[in-house]
Amino acid sequence: MTTWRLVAVALGHARRRIVLSLASFLIAALAAGAVVYLIGDSSQRSNQLLDTLNSPEVRSITLRANSDTLNGDLLPENIVRNIAMLPGVEQALGLSKVQSASVANVTDDDASVGYFVGAFLNGETRYQLTSGRHPQFGEAVASENAVDRLRLTVPSASQILVRDALVPVVGTFTASSLGAITNLLNTSVFSPAIEDQNGYFILVLIVRQPSDVVAVVEAARILLTEFGVSRYTSEYDPRAAEVELLVAKAGRSGARSTALAIVALAGLIEAAVAFMNAVLQRREIARRRALGFTRGMVFGVLVIEGAALSGVGAAIGSLTATIVLASNKHSLVFGQPIAAACFMALIGVIAALPGGALGAFQDPARILRVP
């Protein structure tokens, strides 16, 4: 009974002192809204940055045999297949050493492009046909750039010359998401390798996330120990493992500091408003004390008043910021606006405490002008 009547007294008072109530409400609304917007926007920017840094280029590992002759050392086929199936590997492409391909039957044309024989050892085929069909063993597909360079007028019904052998071209393609070799493949002609290939000159691995890079490189090193560490080179970005952590830290710590500063400032202003509220209510409080309010009741009324105003303000501010973020197509974490509203409401309660104490411990008899 007492609690409900205290709430009624507090809300009644908030309604009557509309200017102070509005100030308290607006401060909480603005602070909570700013915090939600700041954190939401920061998260969004961090996520965008992460997406960028999560690109195949960052997640790619290139293992290259050190052989400088066409039929020299190759990464052994059985080891390559094991590396391709390591946990964390999303995509693996084994390639022969690049050769030169030129236009067939055109003796005075010296235009040539790179020619790869390769196999997708894990994951789906990472090139998109733009015309023709997928090649069988002994056939090829040409990248759009290679088609231009070789001036193939009917790309899916042409032939190219590779080391004295004619290779029919059955389609064209563009490659993407193949990390470091995407550009290289996009200027080349590609043929599928046979099942029992002796080995590969280059193995390109795309791992699932940057943090997998170092682990996969280490596992590959162990698998290639027998082959010999001096006979191959691994290329990757060693900072990839730290990318996610760094981005998350950098993006969120700045926003968190600003948000805390906003909340602290709002808390101070709320406390000042609550203090002023208690001072302006001196006679009202004294009258209530004469009518039988305990100090605790006076304290409770003032704190409930502050908490209610800042709570409602924080909720509305958070909701507004959420709507604004959503309308800007920001992806939101569901708990963030709720957490921000609750935190700001808590700050409102804390800010109301000094004012509540001032009201509760004032001397009612002196205020009622005795004598």
């Binding site: 004469a290 309010f293 100090r295 008899a365 005795v370």
Partner: protein, 218 residues
């Protein structure tokens, strides 16, 4: 008839020097109206606030409705005050932005249910001629109307002790008569008492006891 309030050798001073009451002893008996009179600064209101548990005596003790709470916790004194003591102030002390009804409800202890008091509120408002004003803001009341509402607020919880500090000080003759009549009727009921600080000779003439306080010459 028994004593509802017993003041025994009470002394009180404001600050360090100004002694206001010294060795005051008096009993206030139930079923009577008691007047406290004296020149300004003699401690009339101070004694009223001591009895009302708004101040603590510096020396002596005050027993209010069977409880000696001089050294009790503020919480116990406030609860005792809310249960047994009603106050009427000279300037009515209504909250101007609240309605008459809201002001009256403030007089009901928080720990009680308002609905239990509704019949009493209605009858008091009706008897004092302010029933039609129940939804009006206190700021729109005349001084006499405000004081009558303040009286309803003080009486609504049926306190055993009704304390009034210059209740007719700001009232015209007709309104003062209504207020006084109500105070006297209330104080003379069995189990109740009314203590009035006043300069009003009509009160001293009709009161059952009159306590005269004199300024202390230091």
């Amino acid at each position: 008839m028994g004593s509802l309030i017993s003041v025994n050798q009470v002394g009180y001073r404001y600050g360090r020097a100004q002694l206001v009451l010294d060795d005051v002893s008096v009993d206030f008996v139930e079923g009577q109206v008691h007047a406290i009179i004296g020149p300004s600064g003699c401690g009339k209101s101070t004694l009223l606030y001591l009895i009302g548990l708004m101040l603590r005596p510096e020396s002596g003790e005050i027993v209010v409705v069977g409880a000696e709470l001089t050294h009790a916790r503020d919480f116990d004194r406030a609860i005792h005050r809310s249960e047994y003591i009603g106050f009427v102030f000279q300037d009515s002390l209504l909250e101007p932005s609240m309605t008459v009804m809201e002001n009256v409800i403030e007089g009901i202890p928080l720990q009680h249910r308002v609905s239990e008091y509704q019949p009493d509120i209605d009858s008091h408002l009706l008897r004092l001629g302010v029933a039609d004003l129940r939804d009006r803001k206190a700021s729109q009341l005349s001084g006499g109307q405000a004081q009558r509402v303040a009286l309803v607020r003080a009486m609504v919880k049926r306190p055993m002790v009704l304390l009034a500090d210059e209740p007719t000080g700001n009232l015209d003759g007709a309104t003062a008569s209504i207020v006084l009549s109500e105070l006297f009727n209330y104080g003379r009921q069995p189990g109740h008492t009314c203590i009035v600080v006043t300069h009003d000779e009509r009160i001293t003439a009709d009161a059952d006891t009159v306590l005269r306080l004199e300024p202390i010459n230091v």
